[in-house]
Amino acid sequence: MKLWICTALLFLCAIQNGHAQLRLQQLTEAQFGNIPTDTSSFFPSLYNKTHLHYQIKKIKLTAAFQQFHTPYSSRNYLQLQQVQLDYYSSKFSFQLGHIYQTVARGILLRTFEIPGALFEELSFRSKQQFYRDLLGGQIRWKLNHLTIKGLYGLPLINTLPPTFMDKKRRVEKLAYLGINYQINKHAAEVNMLSNSSKQNTEWLGAFSISGPLLPFIQYTGIWSSNGSDKNAFYANMNISFPKIGITIEYKDYRNYVLGSSFNEPPALVKEHNYRVLNRMTHIPIPQSEKGYQIEAVFLFDDLSILTLNHALAINQIGGKQIYREYYLEYQKELRSGLDSKVFINYAVDPIQLQSLRLSGGIYNTIVLEGGASLELNWEYQRFDNDVQTGFNQYYGLGFSSGNQFSSFLSVEASNDQLLIDQPYKLWIGGGGKFKVSSNHSITFFAGERRGGPACTAGICYNVLDFKGFEIRWNSTI
């Protein structure tokens, strides 16, 4: 078998009389410290991920290795994380190995890789890259107006670390066929997906249409179901004029957690960058969630930007729970070399037991002489729950010396009695980034970093607190 694979690869090399390319990407992170709540011992760790890409014309081979080392052997591993053979042409493409695919905006299937994000689960304490892929293969065949996609693969359960065998991390088999037909600017898509596990096989379907209603109005509608108890509906309408953009989205998800949770329907709640808001992002509960989101962006003549957002989500968890959020952000260049951004947010969040949550903040960037810049940031959040009226606060100070070096100091404070076991807690930390060359950069952190829920690139996960020293080396060669 291996001989056949080698022969096939030799044949591929022989017919590709082109200039090959070899690329390497690596990320190394060393930590000396521990999570503040774990007083058992000092916990140094070393994580590395290395990607090798070899490309000849339209064929690309990728191999990714991942390793993690600590004083505890049960947490350590060295694995060949991903292998992929990929062929691309504008009419036809295929991928074999570890693949990514999103179907029906994530309602049927959502795989992802969050660049640079590392994930460590509290119970396993074994660090890994935060991703979810499929092990299998997929093809795409494109005719004039028709695109046909097929896929077979085993989705990864990414909450289990690589110290688990692959057969425990990939327990389901997915088969998918999708047909997309485009006419003028409209598209219709039919998707069928089957999910087989040891217990049963389930069939799911999704139908979507999208296109323009008027030159300034666009729509999308997606219906998905297993034909009985699982149903999902998503729709959005975009209205845009020069300097004004409005997005209206609606969701209705009923019993729509598929298999080991390999799908992720659109959340329809704003993903905030601000620390106090990002940590409180509403996570959709697709077992029972409906609601809407409206967002409007205005660009003014002085190039200042106003963003307004309102989201509402209704969950049936021990009764009707209604999450509401109103958000305003305004950014403006106050004078040459001074950029400012302010935000305010009002939310009612029964799932986090908060009857009221008010947040606000201001971010300033001051450009100094010689290309350097200074950042002064502040955020404040007040919340009411059954236990207390509490607060979260963040102060940030940053300095950048051109593109080569940047540094920051951050101070966070909270008296949230549901999270901390003392009247008041401070997290103080600082760090920097040094760009050694166009291929290498070093980032470092020292102090204490607050963890908790975090949302990046549309995916939410839990980050552990950290206290100690951390250094990261990133390379692309």
Partner: protein
């Protein structure tokens, strides 16, 4: 078997170069129309900006890139924005693109296919490609004043 493997490694490495080339791609634009890279690339240079709606430095960079795009379009430089928003935010890309009056074409890549194909690891990343689709300049992140570095790179590679 061992001889096969040695021969394979030798053959794979015998013609290796380190300048990465884009294999081409077809992605939908914000109006749902599939666009082929070869139909839109610049005559001399193509500047590809990978961005996302949730990325603060990306938002800071876009007005500056729009300005550079209009300044250098007539000189054979084509800017292309590749948006990497996933299902959570992709509905907002069209209205935001029009509201911000982005001067160049924006394409949607929710599965980050091109992002991974070009070994991009962070938002924003800006690549400059020559007429042979070779990546000749790469820039990660965006800080105040970086637009001058980008313009300098365009000018250096236009000569």
């Amino acid at each position: 078997m061992a001889r096969y493997c040695v021969l394979l490694v030798f053959l794979l490495l015998s013609n290796v170069g380190f300048n990465q080339t884009l294999r081409g791609f077809t992605l939908p634009n914000i109006n749902n129309i599939n666009i082929n890279f070869n139909d839109i690339k610049g005559k001399k240079l193509t500047v590809v900006d990978f961005w996302a709606t949730w990325c603060k430095p990306c938002m800071k960079a876009i007005p500056k890139l729009s300005h550079l795009s209009s300044k250098y379009r007539s000189k054979g430089v084509q800017f292309i924005g590749i948006n990497g928003d996933g299902p959570r935010n992709m509905a907002k890309v069209g209205p935001l693109t029009r509201a911000l009056q982005i001067d160049y074409l924006v394409l949607l890549d929710p599965d980050l296919t091109i992002f991974q194909d070009l070994n991009v690891s962070t938002f924003p990343t800006l690549l400059i490609l020559n007429e042979n689709n070779e990546i000749i300049w790469r820039h990660e992140g965006f800080l105040e004043g970086d637009e001058r570095l980008i313009e300098e790179a365009i000018l250096n590679n236009l000569q």
